[in-house]
């Protein structure tokens, strides 16, 4: 059976020259497994239909050859060394490899990506797959390959689009740039999560805005799984009438989905260990936000009804689109700058989601619909706050001079607590940021920098920060109290549109307003489809039920993922299995969070800057990596200039060393 690899515009859309070449072999050889011939992956020539999720850079027969050869070599190496290779490197490609029983996972990356990131990335992918589908062997038994392939496509599509060069290096999460957000809102998000935890069955959760983390109670590995949605997968593709209406579907409140997911044993244990009432890790953070609240009048608490949001929510979404750099999606005509040209909303949509919206067989609820859009596009938006971060260091320069730069502490954290942050800056221009986590790693790479001693003496001003991280509970709000200038608008925001169309959009708002209509219209039809979409949930969930029992035997714990989307905002909660059958509990969660979510959404939309583009006059690059939360702050644009490439190269090298040498705490390269 030939792997199906039709033309997929969405897959080839990834940035050329980006770190990830995106060759993902799904599990190889599901076929022989079904035929009762496991351990068959050693054959060199007759490869029985490897299942490629996506292999955009290689031709079909090359893919087969590649998979066959790699599988054979993996077998051979395992024979000699008594352990399977974890990494296979070619001259132009490298593959992270994982042998999982009869299955072989292979992920191809560009050679520039550090080995360690490549392996982490594969682990993350496997984690996501298992999270939504259970153990791979069961998934391939229970679901059609077609479905799984579609699901892979979605995962990979999302990941490719959302993952910038730096994110690839650090395998970091897509986080909202907190310097751009009113801290009270973060507090509010944390409170929402805590409130939800009081409801029965709910373990912990996170809140995402346009695919970016606003607040999370989950460990980074788990947050990563929740971040990626199998939105366009079989969960939605099932024909509307197919499964028959489920008792569950009718009872779910609007915009809410409950999916069966699978946690690993450790994840499950760690979630259950927390006493729920006080589990909220971000809870500790709010205390530290008081200073900030003084700076800005608190926004009115969420009073807006869900309906009010109908118009409100579109704006940020449209803006997201506007902010999306062309490079991320070269084959799509962007609504952004061309809003002026009167682009039809439908057109935009079509370009954005080529296949999915048009298939009549795929009914999508409003929540799904909008989340689809978000998942497909917001992730680009994730770049946007990052880009805007360039202004932060400027704002902080005064802080720097007043000694607010922090901290290489002596600390080599012992094996137990990897609490490093890596902070990489590329310039002679010192614009350090203050950070909370104490051992900060400082690295400078610069071509135009002055002599080394000078540069270093500037950094010599680093002082130890008294604010020890202790536990990760403070983590979600690391910088708030040091950022007085957060609310100030960046002076100029050269839009990405400028680069694309040459049309000047002096203020991002213009384009945004125009696209509002576009979005309204796209979400409206979705609303009518609401009931069906919930029906869809049922069958897929039910169908998998038989699989979930054995799943627990294989080290995975069935759990429920409750998601509630309010426009760009998604509340994701992990809950014990009984939640699905407990209507009262669902109602409780829903009503306890609904109003606050709406309010949060409106405020986030208002607070976040409206456009994103790299300032052309960047004189330096910086990257701050928080190893505890696995999040990044950087000022690198989506499309890397040669200068940025150099920076990325340095970051890759340094990150590899920091990851391998626990006692390393400062590094300078030139």
């Amino acid at each position: 059976m030939k792997p199906r690899l039709g033309p997929r515009p969405s897959e080839t859309r990834q940035q050329p020259g980006s770190g990830l070449s995106a060759a993902v072999c799904g599990p190889l050889w599901p076929q022989p497994l079904l035929e009762g011939m496991p351990h068959e992956f050693d054959s060199f020539s007759s490869s029985p239909a490897p299942d490629f999720a996506a292999f955009p850079q290689t031709l079909l027969d090359q893919q087969e050859l590649l998979c066959g050869q790699i599988a054979g070599v993996v077998r051979c190496i395992s024979d000699i060394s008594a352990s399977a290779p974890a990494l296979v490197r070619l001259r132009k490609l490298k593959f992270a490899v994982k042998v999982d029983g009869e299955f072989l996972w292979v992920l191809g990356c560009a050679v520039e990506l550090p080995d360690i990131s490549c392996k982490q990335f594969l682990d993350q992918l496997i984690g996501v797959f298992n999270f939504y589908n259970g153990p791979v062997s069961l998934a391939y038994k229970n679901c059609s390959q077609e479905d799984l392939r579609a699901e892979w496509d979605t995962f990979i599509e999302q990941i490719l689009k959302n993952t910038g060069d730096l994110h690839k290096i650090f395998s970091s999460l897509w986080n909202l740039d907190r310097t751009q957000v009113e801290p009270l809102l973060l507090l509010k998000a944390a409170l929402i999560l805590q409130t939800c935890q009081r409801s029965p069955h709910v373990l912990a959760g996170c809140i995402l805005y346009k695919g970016l983390i606003v607040s999370t109670q989950l460990p980074p590995s788990l947050t990563a799984k929740v971040l990626i949605h199998p939105a366009a997968s079989r969960h939605q593709r099932r024909p509307a009438g197919g499964g028959g209406p489920q008792e569950r579907g009718a009872a779910l409140p609007p915009n809410v989905r409950i999916m069966p997911v699978f946690l690993t044993e450790e994840e499950a244990t760690s979630l259950r260990e927390f006493p729920r009432e006080q589990a909220a890790s971000p809870a500790a953070a709010p205390a530290r936000l008081q200073q900030c609240s003084a700076q800005q009048p608190p926004h009115p608490q969420s009073t807006s009804a869900p309906t009010d949001n109908a118009t409100g929510h579109v704006e940020p979404t449209a803006w997201m689109l506007a902010a999306t750099p062309e490079s991320a999606c070269p084959d799509v005509a962007w609504p952004d700058g061309k809003g002026e040209n009167g682009h039809l909303p439908g057109c935009d949509l079509e370009n954005i989601k080529p296949a999915k919206l048009h298939s009549p067989a795929r009914d999508e609820g409003p929540g799904l619909g909008s989340s689809l859009v978000k998942e497909l596009h917001l992730p680009w938006g994730e770049e946007e706050p990052d880009l805007s971060a360039i202004h932060i260091p400027e704002a902080q320069e005064t802080e720097t001079s007043s000694g607010y730069f922090a901290l290489p502490s002596t600390g080599a954290p012992d094996g137990g607590g990897p609490c490093f942050e890596e902070f990489v800056r590329d310039s002679g221009d010192p614009a350090p940021e203050s950070r909370d986590a104490p051992p900060v790693v400082m690295a400078i790479s610069s071509v135009l920098s002055p002599s080394t001693p000078e540069m270093l003496s500037q950094n010599g001003a680093l002082e130890q920060h008294d604010d020890l991280p202790g536990d990760s509970s403070q983590a979600p709000f690391p910088r708030e109290d040091h950022l007085p200038g957060r609310t100030s608008r960046p002076r100029s925001w050269p839009c990405s549109d400028l680069r694309q169309s040459g049309t000047a959009l002096p203020e991002g708002e213009q384009g945004v307003e125009r696209s509002v209509g576009a979005h309204d219209s796209c979400s409206a039809p979705g609303g009518s489809a609401l009931p069906e979409s919930q029906d869809d949930n049922g069958p897929s969930a039910d169908r998998r039920d038989p699989g979930s029992a054995p799943a627990s035997c294989m080290g995975l714990v069935p759990t429920n993922l409750y998601t509630h989307s309010v426009n760009g905002l998604v509340l994701s909660l992990l809950a014990e299995e009984p939640l699905r059958g407990d209507d009262a509990a669902i109602e409780e969660v829903y009503h306890s969070s609904l109003a606050s979510l709406n309010g949060l959404e409106v405020h986030l939309k208002e607070t976040l800057p409206k456009d994103a583009a790299a300032s052309p006059s960047r004189t330096y690059n910086f990257t701050h990596y928080d190893r505890i939360q696995n999040v990044l702050t950087a000022n690198l644009p989506q499309t890397a200039t040669p200068q940025d490439r150099r920076f990325l190269r340095a970051v890759s090298l340094m990150h590899s060393d920091f990851a391998q040498l626990p006692a390393l705490y400062e590094m300078t390269v030139r």
């Binding site: 070599v73 270093l456 090298l653 060393d657 400062e666 390269v669």
Partner: protein
């Protein structure tokens, strides 16, 4: 758990080497499936069985995808495989004990390839011919060839692990200007001139002569007509000498397992008297002492604290300068002067080697030389390099009968001269127009075939001229008595100094002399990449010989640190970074590479090329990176002579960065002055 394999595309083993642990793991693997008593397949066959799929897959990938494997690593880096394709031969290095990283393995492969070149010259250019050399059909001969390279690899591994000069791949000189000068004079007058004026020299011309104390260079002299010797070639020669006459520091601390080299001498090769069989009576006397002490490994040879009755004719030295009789040093000498007797007398004759030279201003790769290694005392060797005045004339008659000879004779010159660069193409064109019909050009395939044939013919002629008539195979060389003569002259000259030299080689540079001026400095290595020489405080590699840091865990720790830092610096240099500062735990490591002009003024730094992970390594022995770097830099500075230097420094991490950088500058300045001492 180490293994190296060289194979053809068809998975035929051209060469292999394994350490004991790896061989053992193979035995376990194959032993189980075989019946008891049944003989296991030969090691080479086991290896080829195991690795054939990888080799074939690698070739397939190259054909189908024009990309091929460069590296595999298993979980936690337990096993590391590095693959490198040189021409038609696939080189594979495996490590299963975490002692080498990818760079090390790749370096090892490059060094192995370089050693092949040193031994076979341009024959390595042709896949088929080099196959015959590396895997002679005659089994006994094959065993001999393989054992020779296996031993070289082992020696290389040992030197790289233990000697700083091999870790950074630069020659370390014994710092003693006065003695150096005297030696140079002796080498000039009593060796080079003596040989070249001797009527018995059999057409050989002595070009270079140098003295080695262990792996350190004491003095070097080149005749006026000789072109300079590349640092890489000098290192390779030191490696060859160390392989033939291993000194105690590198050999004695070998793994507790029985040295894999020993059985070999008892296999088929008659055990001759270990020390140079033809040396003078005096040398024989001392070698007898050595042999005795060797048979009782726990008692080590202790030399007489002062030159005794053996030093008969040493007046020359006494006239010009008395060897220092520094009491503490002599005392130290007692624990340092353990020496080993060479294991392998078979290779002790003169040897054909191929070194780069420039002939009439143009660079000639792999010019045949004959190397004579003349041991003076254990640990002290003299090496003499000669070149045949008119090499290959004896083969003339055989060559003349060759069908293509008339043409090829001239062409060979051109081929050799122009190898490397676009000129090869013009040579091809020329060949095409002359060798084939002048009116109609042949098809490209035909031309390729023809070119391949020409290449093979050239290589065959080269092989015939330089390899089959090599001194090791009975070819012409300096007569034994002439060798003996220069050997005994040098022994006489140096006899009063020998103990001092052996101690000095262990305490060449001491950290003590730097501590006062550079507080916080723990260790440094300074390399002049233009001359390929390095200076570094001695770090003892032996468990028995203590260094300034003692011989406990601290010394071991610092050693490990230094070695890992060398790797680190290499990796960053490969990626184009010339400055590195690295604070880890209690130590701070800094690395600088810079260019300067003849006067020592620092030149502007340029962007160094960024190399891929699978490129040949940053090093000297396997592809001289620094030479290329210098050439690259010189392009932007055509007017002046450019020098390239490296400094690796290890400080305590309490030292602030500005102090550290200042110290590094100061240190470099001071070392620059020392390195100005004349060598020639």
């Amino acid at each position: 758990m180490k293994c190296v394999l060289v194979a053809t595309e068809g998975a035929e083993v051209l060469f292999y080497w394994t350490d004991e642990a790896f061989a053992e793991s193979l035995r376990l693997k194959f032993g189980r499936s075989e019946n008891e008593g049944e003989e296991l397949p030969a090691l080479e066959d086991q290896l080829s069985t195991l690795l054939a799929p990888v080799i074939i897959s690698s070739v397939t990938m190259l054909e189908k995808l024009s990309d091929t494997y460069t590296c595999f690593s298993t979980e936690n880096g337990d096993y590391l495989y590095v693959l490198h394709l040189f021409g038609e031969c696939l080189f594979v290095a495996i490590n299963g004990d975490h002692t080498e990283d990818e760079g090390d393995l790749r370096q090892k492969l490059c060094v192995l390839k370089y050693l092949f070149e040193v031994h076979f010259g341009l024959v390595t250019v042709d896949g088929q011919l080099v196959r015959k050399e590396l895997r002679p059909p005659d089994r006994e001969r094959r065993v001999q060839v393989w054992e020779h390279f296996q031993s070289l690899l082992r020696t290389y591994g040992r030197l790289r692990e233990r000697e700083q000069c091999f870790a950074v791949e630069a020659v370390e000189r014994l710092i003693h200007p006065q003695l150096c000068e005297l030696c140079i004079e002796a080498l000039e007058r009593h060796v080079i001139q003596a040989v070249n004026s001797s009527p018995e020299r059999a057409g050989e011309e002595a070009l270079h002569a140098f003295l080695l104390v262990h792996s350190k260079l004491l003095a070097f002299y080149s005749s006026h007509s000789a072109s300079s010797l590349r640092p890489a070639d000098l290192l390779a020669l030191i490696l060859l000498v160390q392989d033939r006459y291993p000194s105690e520091s590198t050999a004695e601390d070998d793994d507790p397992q029985p040295s894999p080299r020993k059985p070999r001498s008892s296999e088929s090769i008659p055990v001759q008297q270990a020390w140079s069989p033809a040396s003078t009576a005096r040398a024989r006397r001392s070698s007898a002492t050595e042999t005795d002490s060797f048979s009782l490994p726990e008692e080590y040879f202790t030399p007489a604290p002062s030159p005794g009755e053996q030093s008969s004719g040493s007046t020359v030295w006494l006239d010009e300068g008395t060897p220092p009789t520094d009491a503490p040093q002599v005392q130290i000498a007692e624990d340092t002067l353990q020496t080993l007797v060479p294991h392998s007398p078979v290779a002790s004759g003169p040897r054909r080697i191929f070194l780069d030279a420039s002939v009439k201003e143009s660079h000639c790769p792999m010019v045949p030389h004959t190397a004579y290694c003349l041991p003076l005392w254990p640990g002290i060797n003299m090496v003499l390099l000669t070149k045949k005045l008119k090499e290959g004339q004896e083969a003339g008659t055989t060559l003349r009968s060759h069908p293509l000879m008339g043409d090829l004779r001239q062409r060979m010159d051109k081929f050799v001269k122009n190898r490397g660069g676009q000129e090869i193409q013009s040579t091809w064109l020329e060949f095409k127009s002359k060798a084939f019909s002048r009116s109609e050009p042949g098809s490209s395939w035909e031309l390729l075939q023809a070119c391949g044939k020409v290449k093979r013919q050239l290589c065959a002629i080269y092989c015939l001229s330089f390899l089959t008539t090599a001194p090791g195979r009975g070819g012409p060389h300096l007569p034994q008595q002439l060798q003996d003569k220069v050997q005994s002259i040098m022994q006489e000259k140096l006899t009063d100094w020998k103990d001092f030299l052996l101690v000095k080689s262990r305490r060449n540079v001491t950290m003590v002399s730097y501590l006062e001026d550079f507080p916080g400095l723990v260790h440094f290595i300074y390399v002049d990449r233009t001359t390929g020489q390095m200076v570094a405080p001695s770090l003892s590699s032996s468990k028995r010989i203590s260094s300034e840091l003692g011989r406990g865990p601290l010394a071991t720790f610092i050693r490990t640190k230094v070695w890992s830092l060398i790797r680190l610096a290499r990796r960053y240099l490969q990626k184009g970074y010339t400055t590195l500062l690295f604070r880890e735990g209690d130590f701070c490591f800094s690395y600088f590479l810079w260019f300067e002009n003849e006067m020592g003024y620092k030149l502007q730094i340029i962007e160094v090329p960024v190399l891929s992970d699978d490129s040949t390594c940053i090093g000297v022995l396997g592809g001289d990176y620094y030479r290329k770097l210098l050439r690259y830099y010189s392009k932007s500075h055509p007017a002046e002579a450019v020098k390239c230097h490296e400094l690796l420094a290890l400080h305590l991490s309490v030292i602030p960065t500005d102090v550290l950088v200042q110290q590094a500058g100061e240190l470099a300045r001071r070392l620059w002055e020392t390195s100005r001492l004349p060598l020639l």
